[in-house]
């Protein structure tokens, strides 16, 4: 037995105006789960504590709560000393029990035709991953889109796709999915992160439904315009100034000895819309012994097309990009756009290794820059944090280059998944939430790695939004000046 202290949010809407937190100390067995700790609180301290549990084996989805900020099944998550247990972000019935039934009742139900029909093995294998949902609604609790627009939520989209994939179903699921908010998903993948069954709803349901919408001619006009642009120019954004590729040679040699050689995949935003951070990054590479090879025939990675379901020209883009690097014998390709990086890593089958710029810098080990006399917070790009699992390296470099790093809770800024172009009001509403979070940190600047986030957040905050590479370069320049001064 061991003693643990836990804090639980208590709330009885019939009596309390607002929820409050209470702290309890209980004895639990080694290996006890959160649910065992709740049971013990109820048994020994307060029998009025309300929460749900049924199967105690992670199969019924009754007991999802937030533990230290993240949804988890109370029956599977190990109890830890000091943990804070809150209800899911859904209307609270009392304490940790939330009103999940109305959400469940709205899920699509397959409408099978009358004749019994068996599925083929292939059909079963396609549907199965979408069938594992235990309807715990952890995904609904965390979905950022749901906070600002009318969206049925991640698991509702999973269910739409489950029906759409089933040859027995006789309904038009695509129109229905669009009515329920198919284009509201920013593909931030937060739902996958918290799903106890790790169901890849954005990739296996939302993007696939958008593909079907595309085949049915139901792609949003603004998304279509992007696809037409890519088809015409190989790029997803119009050039507004001299592009990055027009400004750089094919090979950039480092100042000192070569420690590493990488190919650089620049991406459309850094190429055509905001080349400066990419140019700054090249300076950082030079300074740290990294030789950069930049094939000029590279094109859009296809991410804006995959996220919006417009995948017909995708094979062509992939082929061009892969050949651009393989033909030069490059074995490591660096990205500095989180979206391109996630796409090359997850949607491509590349014969080379793909690394984010922070991974490259971490691997090589960089010369420490001078510390800038500012406080900075960091915005996690979804396609870096969850798309590539990169969280620590950017924070590490940021702490190296600013005097004061202030953490900020992670949330999607609203720019991804085609939402910025397709549903600008939603993107702005999510951006506004980010703006408020940034203001709450009191930081002088916001740093991020994704050009989409950077561009989008800048519209919603009066603080400068900077790329990490730019900041590192500023640190080096300060260092040089200080050394010159000495």
């Amino acid at each position: 037995m061991k003693e643990i202290t836990l804090t639980i949010q208590r709330f009885d809407p019939a009596k309390d105006e607002t929820p409050h937190q209470e702290t309890y100390t209980v004895s639990v067995n080694e290996g006890a789960r959160v649910l065992d700790a709740l049971d013990e609180v109820r048994r020994s301290l307060d029998p009025s504590l309300m929460y749900r549990s049924c199967c105690r084996a992670g199969q019924c989805g009754s007991c999802a709560v937030r533990v230290n900020g993240n949804p988890a099944l109370a029956c599977m998550q190990e109890a830890t000393d000091g943990m804070i247990v809150l209800p899911l972000e859904l209307p609270v019935i009392r304490d940790l029990a939330t009103d999940i039934a109305p959400v469940l009742e709205r899920l699509a139900t397959i409408l099978p035709s009358d004749s019994p029909q068996s599925l083929s093995k292939e059909e079963v294998e396609l549907i199965k991953p979408l069938r594992e949902c235990i309807e715990c609604l952890s995904c609904v609790s965390v979905c950022p889109a749901l906070k600002v627009v009318d969206f049925a939520g991640p698991t509702a989209m999973r269910q739409q796709m489950r029906c759409a994939l089933d040859p027995r179903d006789s309904e038009d699921r695509i129109t229905e999915a669009i009515e329920r908010g198919l284009f509201a998903c920013t593909t931030c993948h937060r739902c996958v992160e918290v799903c106890p069954k790790k169901i890849k709803i954005p990739g296996k349901a939302i993007e696939k439904l958008r593909e079907r919408a595309n085949r049915a001619g139901l792609t949003l006009p603004r998304h279509q315009a992007v696809a037409e642009l890519v088809e015409r120019t190989g790029r997803s954004v119009e050039r507004t100034e001299a592009t990055f590729l027009e400004q750089v040679p094919e090979v950039i040699e480092p100042d000192g000895p070569v420690k590493m050689t990488i190919g650089f995949f620049v991406g459309c935003m850094f190429n055509g819309r905001v080349p400066q951070p990419a140019l700054d990054a090249m300076e950082v590479m030079k300074r740290n012994g990294i030789r950069v090879i930049i094939p000029h025939e590279q094109v859009c990675c296809g991410s804006p097309l995959i996220r919006t379901g417009q995948t017909t020209i995708l094979p062509d883009l992939k082929k061009k990009n892969i050949e651009a690097f393989t033909s030069r014998g490059i074995d490591t390709v660096m990205t500095m756009c989180a979206g391109c990086g996630a796409t090359l890593k997850n949607d491509y089958d590349t014969p080379f290794t793909v690394m984010d710029i922070t991974e490259v810098l971490e691997k090589v080990g960089i010369e420490p820059p001078a510390k800038l006399p500012i406080s900075a917070t960091y915005h996690d790009p979804c396609h870096l944090l969850r798309g590539q699992g990169i969280s620590e390296p950017p924070r590490h470099f940021l702490s190296m280059v600013v005097e004061n790093y202030i953490p900020m809770p992670t949330q999607c800024c609203g720019a991804g998944g085609g939402v910025r172009s397709g549903q600008p009001e939603e993107a702005a509403a999510l951006g506004k939430l980010r703006g408020e979070a940034i203001a709450a940190t009191g930081a002088d600047i916001v740093v991020t790695i994704c050009p989409f986030c950077e561009f989008h957040i800048q519209e919603q905050t009066d603080k400068p939004v900077k790329n990490l590479a730019t900041l590192l370069l500023e640190g080096y320049r300060k260092k040089d000046q200080e050394e010159k001064g000495n």
Binding site: V28, N29, E30, G31, A32, R33, D36, R42, R43, P47, S48, M50, R52, S53, C54, C55, R56, A57, G58, Q59, C60, G61, S62, M76, A97, I100, A101, L104, E105, L107, T109, I110, L111, P112, D114, P116, Q117, S118, L119, S120, K121, E123, V124, I127, K128, R131, E132, C133, I134, E135, D166, R168, D169, K197
Partner: protein, 542 residues
């Protein structure tokens, strides 16, 4: 407290697991149907937790007779033969229903539903959806339920059945907060599942508290074979709080082997023919014997090993097992699982006809709350089939009931309120009472039983039942009410076990010398009702 809700309907279904939902879907074709359950529909019963599969004869090479014989033999010939026949005859049709409703079972290249071998069966006839078969069935039923006219009342507990001159005419209910209500109905279907929670170590969900046995009994219905408690051979052993968690029979179906601490594949000594895929009663006893005789692990289990299987196969066929064990820090692709028997299924229950009528007019029962289908031991894969076969039958029979007055006698509601009021004067916490009962039942009415231990346990349960329970808030009142239901059911298990002086199927009386093979047993069902208790004698005692 006063009645806060009164409503009426044609059919009231109590219990929202696999059998209850199936019954409600069927009943709704005949008239207004209300489905109540103490959890959110689909989440509470054991169906959603069932992993392994659903037995049905689907292939030319298999036969209905074979399924029947396996079921009767597995049940040590205590089964109600007619019910077993219904089960095996209709299981394929109900599987077809599920497929028609949209279920996604694993399929073979030929589009045939895939089937795996399960214990005690001559043919691989267990249909499955990975190792989440019950979940697949519940999801399918829920989709249909949400699209149906059935009125779903989540988190409503049935406290008592209401009767009108010995006919069941509805139920007196409670919300989570103890708000009393009443639902009048022309017919009531009990589908409340089993009672594993009466034991300290169980696979059952927290809802498996045997309420339906208690409600049916108090309404005058007869129960049979309550002593027949199946101990699943393979439950988790640690961590302590996860003890008893089901390790599906599919692990053995897919080739898992059992070993004692000496590394010996001990099943060869107990059933060299069927080995790990012997019937559950045999495997559970074998494991218990290994542990009792000192060949178990330190924590009192044995090893269940799949590490010889290719990792991909484990990932594809046993994903839930893999995931659950990983959450507890064990990678079953590389390490063996530590397992021991765990209370799993009640073979006994309310006596029913093939139309699911209980012995009380107006009351129907289906699923685990009903007895007789499985005899003295249930085959793995027959319970999910039972939920669908008898769920449909109960729903149909209840639906065909004629319209009644739809009134509930207020004095019966008052009686419930008086019982609740008495909790105000009690002293023992319901949770303490339940903890003591679970321990006593595990120690005294487990796999090996003797008259002496059963009698001591019976006295302990009577003592607990005589100690007034304390409860003030709504949720505590439900706890106390449930505890009293559990004590009543524990008593039935003990009484049945004392009456049955033979070893048969899951019931082993180590103090009784048995002079007959199970096929020739002179005993029939044990019977318990408010007015009678005894064991049927169907032959001459040798």
């Amino acid at each position: 407290m006063g009645v806060i809700t009164t409503e009426d309907c044609h059919v009231l279904v109590i219990g929202s697991g696999g059998a209850g939902i199936r019954a409600a879907l069927e009943a709704a074709q005949y008239g207004e149907t209300i489905l109540i359950g103490k959890t959110i529909a689909g989440k509470g019963g054991c169906t959603v937790m069932a992993e392994g599969g659903y037995n049905a004869v689907l292939r030319e090479a298999d036969t209905i007779t074979g399924h029947l014989e396996d079921t009767l033999k597995g049940g040590a010939y205590l089964n109600d033969r007619t019910l077993a026949e219904v089960l095996v005859n209709e299981a394929p049709d109900r599987m077809a229903d599920l497929i028609r409703m949209g279920a996604v079972f694993d399929a073979e290249e030929s589009c045939m539903i895939a089937q795996r071998p399960f214990g005690g069966q001559r043919f691989p006839r267990t249909c499955y959806a990975g190792d989440r078969t019950g979940h697949e069935i519940v999801m399918t039923l829920l989709e249909r339920l949400r699209a149906s006219d059935v009125i779903i009342r989540n988190e409503i507990t049935a406290l008592e059945l209401a009767t009108d001159e010995s006919r069941v005419c509805g139920a007196i209910t409670s919300t989570r907060d103890g708000g009393i209500g009443a639902i009048a109905a022309d017919a009531v279907v009990l589908a409340t599942g089993g009672a594993g929670q009466i034991y300290d170590i169980t696979t059952n969900s927290t809802a498996g508290t045997g309420d339906g046995y208690a409600l049916g009994f108090r309404a005058g219905a007869e129960l049979i074979d309550m002593e027949m408690v199946q101990f699943h051979p393979t439950g988790a052993v640690h961590p302590y709080d996860a003890r008893g968690r089901l390790i599906t029979e599919a692990v053995r179906g897919e080739g898992g082997i059992l070993k004692n601490v000496q590394g010996e594949r001990f099943m060869s000594r107990y059933d060299s023919q069927r080995m790990e895929l012997s019937t559950r009663d045999v495997v559970a006893r074998s494991i218990a014997t290994e542990v009792l005789e000192g060949r178990g692990t330190e924590k009192g289990g044995v090893w269940l090993d799949v590490t010889h299987l290719p990792p991909e196969e484990i990932e594809a066929r046993l994903p839930s097992m893999l995931e659950q064990y990983l959450a507890f820090g064990v990678d079953i692709r590389k390490e063996a699982m530590e397992v021991a028997p765990t209370a799993h299924h009640m073979m006994g229950g309310l006596r029913i006809t093939p139309s699911c009528e209980t012995t009380v007019p107006g009351l129907f029962a289906c699923g685990e709350v009903a007895g007789g289908v499985h005899g003295a031991n249930r085959l793995g894969g027959n319970a999910l089939a039972e939920t669908q076969v008898f769920g449909r039958r109960a729903g149909e029979a209840a639906g065909r009931s004629k319209e009644e007055k739809r009134e509930i006698d207020p004095t019966q509601i008052e009686a419930v309120e008086q019982r609740i009021a008495a909790f105000g004067a009690g002293e023992m916490k319901p949770s303490d009472c339940v903890a003591r009962m679970k321990r006593a039942m595990w120690d005294g009415a487990g796999i090996y039983r003797t008259a002496a231990a059963l009698t001591t346990t019976r006295e302990a349960i009577l003592d607990l039942a005589a100690s007034p329970l304390a409860a003030s808030s709504g949720p505590e009142i439900l706890d106390a009410w449930t505890a009293q239901n559990m004590l009543l059911v524990a008593g039935m298990i003990l009484d049945g076990a004392l009456m049955r002086q033979e070893s048969r199927g899951a019931h082993v009386r180590s103090d009784c010398a048995v002079r007959w093979g199970v096929e020739d047993s002179p005993y029939g069902h044990t019977r318990i009702s408010p007015s009678y208790r005894g064991i049927e004698l169907i032959g001459r005692i040798a």
